[in-house]
């Protein structure tokens, strides 16, 4: 799942996400995106600006990002795994084989397009072999050409640094390299070198060093999506240790001029003279430079952007505090430069099917729950929308309404729950005096959420015992030793439900301990379906089935809000990452 970077803010709400993510990768449900707010996506990205999205901006100038973070978690292309960083670094210094179209809209903004590759890849053997051919004239910042070997080398780093530092490791999962009995790869990465021959067989380069071919251990129809994560090239054979995380070699339109961490520090990107526009039809790369200022206190940062005077007209913040949301979203002067859009997460409560095997009991829990109070607790309309399943609308074509709260359970369920229906379901299941324990990562907001659980389920005669767990250990505990219900959150790694439904309900992040062979088989079929439209339809059905079986109670599709200065464009949320559309942004001259 794509992670969300949050600044080192004093505000407790912002802390939660980073804590949890640092631990194992996941949002602990109901708290990750506090303070969000309100209007729809369409409203925040007015239609006339869609034209600009296509690239009506002017070149030149400097765009500035104000962040409370003290540094990038990493700049290492094999370690970067947070949506905002992937979007920003991908737009500026780290090109990949493919990328997402920079456009407004959930479908348009998640459409795969070629980047370094000439097309979005060629699958053969039913999706078990994938080839990509590099465009001409792609170079490193030192002028050397970017070759297939560089892409292969970068990919190989997933096996050491990627694994060690918690980067995306789809190469480890998918490449046809033998594994040991414990499931670990026999290839230990380029630094150690053990099993290099195995890797070299799985990833091959054409004689002209232009075409890279990946041999996979299973058909992966959307492998060309996964190459946006962690498959960026690194100069082959370059000795890369931890320092590469601070000074990676750029193959994009910009290069690093300065990188100082800590409050008052900054990352300054300037034009890479060795980048040629001809080799890169994907990016507009309009500003002459980018500056990321670290350690700007959240309130200070948003005040600067709100005021937008002087250089701050070219500045932007990547989040807004709860306190300033009403101001920003009620005052018309911010209308053209604010964004309120979905973030990456679906917030849910997983029901442990081993402890609650009866579908009707699970449904009763979901039906009784007061989702309205939970949403209010998360910031109301700024916090998100009611979720009707694990798959979120901003994933693109894989989303379709499941109708979970309309008719899927036999009757419409209002947001504040339907205790009578819940009682009826319990009666049908023959369950009485039901007591469940609710695991959650402890925070002030989650404590309140737990209270809402206790209260609303009590209306249906279900007793809830809250079990707060120290946040840093939350996922470790609930994976080893789960109770009946666990709060959680999940975000897709790329716009395909293959990064949502399989991990949640088959293997990977299966908090619900679902063990449904028929479902798993259908998931496998869908995963390997080559017809994208047909695949989407299969996902729709599977999402609906999961919703009906109530393996999770989806409570909220998270939103987040941001604001840019008056001279920043274009302003819309790029659905692929839930970020600014960095590749095409410009400074009004």
């Amino acid at each position: 799942m794509i992670r969300v970077r949050r600044g080192a803010a004093i505000a407790a709400t912002a802390v939660i996400a980073s804590l949890v993510l640092a631990a194992c990768g996941g949002s602990d449900g109901g708290t990750a995106e506090e303070g969000a707010a309100a209007e729809g996506t369409a409203e925040s990205a007015p239609a006339e600006e869609s034209a600009e999205a296509g690239g009506a901006g002017q070149p030149g100038g400097t765009l500035t990002i104000l962040t409370s973070a003290e540094q990038f978690l990493t700049l290492d292309p094999q370690v970067v795994y947070t949506g905002e960083d992937l979007a920003f670094l991908g737009a500026t210094i780290q090109r990949s084989l493919t990328a997402y179209q920079v456009a407004e809209g959930d479908v348009e903004g998640t459409t795969l397009v070629p980047d370094m590759a000439t097309d979005t890849g060629t699958a053969s053997e039913g999706g078990k072999v994938w080839s990509f051919t590099l465009r001409d004239g792609i170079t490193w910042e030192d002028g050397a050409p970017v070759t297939c070997a560089d892409v292969a080398y970068g990919t190989s780093r997933q096996f050491d640094i990627g694994l060690a530092e918690g980067g995306p490791v789809y190469a480890v999962t998918y490449l046809d390299i033998p594994t040991n009995e414990d499931g670990s790869s026999q290839y230990l990465g380029p630094v150690d070198g053990t099993g290099q021959d195995l890797f070299d067989k799985a990833v091959t380069c054409s004689d002209d060093n232009k075409t890279i071919t990946f041999m996979l251990n299973q058909p992966v129809p959307d492998f060309n999506y996964s190459v946006t994560l962690g498959f960026s090239p690194v100069p082959a054979g370059m000795v890369t240790g931890e320092e590469y995380a601070n000074k990676p070699m750029s193959n994009g339109p910009y290069k690093i001029q300065e990188y100082t961490k800590g409050p008052g520090g900054n990352l300054t990107l300037v034009r890479n003279e060795n980048w040629s526009k001809d080799s890169d039809p994907y990016r507009l790369a309009l500003p002459d430079s980018w500056v990321v200022n670290f350690g700007i206190e959240e309130t200070v940062g948003e005040q600067r952007v709100m005021q937008s005077s002087g250089e701050d007209a070219y500045a932007m913040v990547q989040s807004l505090t709860t306190a300033s949301l009403p101001v920003v979203f009620e005052d018309a002067q911010y209308e053209s430069r604010r964004i309120d859009a979905f973030d990456a997460y679906t917030i849910y409560a997983a029901i442990n099917t081993e402890k609650v095997p009866d579908e009707k009991v699970r449904q009763a829990i979901g039906v009784a729950l007061d989702r309205e109070a939970l949403l209010l607790n998360a910031g109301g309309t700024f916090g998100g929308d009611y979720a009707d399943g694990a798959v979120k609308p901003n994933i693109g074509i894989d989303y379709a309404p499941t109708g979970l709260w309309d008719d899927l359970l036999g009757a419409p369920v209002p947001p504040n729950g339907d205790p009578e229906l819940a009682k009826k379901l319990l009666a049908e299941a023959g369950a009485s005096d039901l007591t469940i324990t609710l695991d959650y990562g402890q925070s002030e907001d989650n404590d309140k959420a737990a209270a809402i659980w206790v209260e609303s389920l009590a209306r249906a005669g279900i007793t809830v015992k809250p079990n707060p767990i120290e946040r840093g250990q939350y996922y470790g505990v609930v994976f080893d030793n789960p109770n009946e219900v666990m709060l959680g959150g999940w975000g897709a790694d790329w716009p395909n439900a293959s990064t949502v439904l399989p991990p949640l309900f088959v293997q990977g992040w299966n908090l619900s301990r679902v063990n449904d062979e028929a479902y798993a088989e259908k998931v496998k079929v869908a995963s390997q379906e080559l017809d994208r439209q047909k695949q989407a339809e299969l996902w729709h059905e599977l999402s609906k089935e999961a919703a009906k079986k109530m393996w999770i109670v989806p409570t909220r599709f998270g939103r987040d809000q941001r604001l840019a200065g008056t001279n920043v464009g274009p302003i819309f949320s790029w659905s692929a990452y839930g970020s600014y559309p960095y590749p095409n942004m410009y400074a009004v001259q």
């Binding site: 080192a8 803010a9 004093i10 912002a14 802390v15 980073s18 804590l19 640092a22 631990a23 194992c24 990768g25 003290e70 694994l163 060690a164 530092e165 918690g166 980067g167 490791v169 931890e242 800590g262 409050p263 008052g264 520090g265 900054n266 200022n293 670290f294 350690g295 700007i296 206190e297 309130t299 200070v300 005040q303 600067r304 005021q307 005077s309 002087g310 701050d312 120290e470 840093g472 250990q473 470790g476």
Partner: protein, 329 residues
């Protein structure tokens, strides 16, 4: 006097030792599982266990403390073989989130904090004491009432709010000063002063309020003392009476408060460092809470506590210097 200082220094060292143990134990009692926190994404029980051994967490608290303590003098190696990390003496622990020795991280941030603390300290002490004296001398007059009133407001201002208001008007709205971007004074003195002037003033105003009140009440108390009447009866000019006789007598509580305040500031002005984007100890502490790094927290806590203990020592020595009766006892 020499023996007195020596005795106090010895007590201080003992106190430091006890304190370091207390801090160490306190942090090791926290529920956070450091081995898991430093584990990374692919977190198997095996890696956690290896981490536990690497960090010495498999040992008893006492053994861990001994390792920590001895590392200060002889350094320490975390783990064995290729993955081993060497932390050279004096080693105050190793940050696995930042891959740097804790001491280095602290020393990196210390100058900023020291400059912030000292600058503000000089301003608020001089400003506060002078205003306090003036206020006491004009007791009951409009000047006294004005100063007391402003001091009351200043004293009760929340620093976060006040700092933000100052930034909003001075920097964002009126653009009198550029955005704070810290540079060391030896690198860029102009930028240094431009960045520090506001946090200095904000801190100074927040603290001066307290010293104004304290000095005023101290002066009012000592001005009524018999030896002040004696000083006047001797024909001393009022300036000498106030500046020498009264001030020195009222100095002890001011020195105590100032010493502890300075120590506190040297531990990092957490809120002001955050809103002025200053790379000091306070922001280091904050970031090691948000991005949990226990070794940094232990280090910063120890350093801060050391400042407090040293400040106490200095205050006590100053006491003895100020008040000869203390020396005797």
């Amino acid at each position: 006097m020499g023996a007195y200082v020596l005795r106090r220094v010895l007590i201080m060292l003992l106190l430091l030792l006890l304190l370091s143990f207390a801090v160490f134990v306190l942090f090791s009692l926290l529920p956070a599982d450091v081995a898991r926190l430093t584990c990374g994404k692919i977190c198997t029980d095996q890696t956690i266990e290896l981490n536990r051994i690497r960090l010495g967490l498999d040992k008893s608290v006492f053994e861990q403390y001994w390792l920590f303590l001895s590392a200060i003098f002889v350094g320490r190696t975390y783990g064995v073989g290729e993955g081993a990390v060497v932390c050279e003496a004096p080693c105050l622990g190793w940050s696995f989130t930042k891959s740097e020795p804790v001491l280095e991280l602290i020393l990196d941030r210390l100058p900023t904090t020291i400059f912030l603390a000292l600058g503000a300290f000089v301003l608020f002490l001089i400003g506060g004491v002078l205003l306090g004296i003036y206020s006491a001398l004009r007791r009951g007059g409009w000047q006294d009432k004005a100063i007391t009133g402003v001091a009351l407001v200043g004293y009760s201002l929340p620093s976060f709010f006040f700092g933000l208001v100052v930034i909003y008007f001075v920097i964002i709205r009126w653009q009198i000063l550029p955005f704070p971007r810290y540079e060391h004074p030896w690198d860029d003195p102009v930028q240094f002063v431009q960045t520090m002037i506001l946090p200095w003033l904000v801190l100074a105003i927040l603290y001066a309020a307290f010293y104004t009140r304290l000095t005023r009440s101290q002066m009012l108390e000592t001005l009524g003392d018999d030896y002040i009447r004696t000083a006047r009866a001797k024909g001393l000019p009022e300036r000498t009476v106030i500046g020498k006789h009264a001030l020195r007598a009222g100095l002890t509580p001011i020195v105590t408060a100032a010493g502890l305040d300075l120590a506190g500031l040297l531990g990092g002005a957490i809120i002001l460092e955050a809103i002025f984007s200053l790379p000091g100890l306070g922001s280091l502490a904050i970031s090691s809470v948000t991005n949990p790094d226990q070794s940094i927290l232990v280090g910063v806590t120890l350093i801060t506590a050391t400042f407090v203990i040293i400040a106490n020592l200095v205050v006590d020595i100053l006491y003895a210097y100020i008040d000869p009766r203390v020396r005797a006892s």
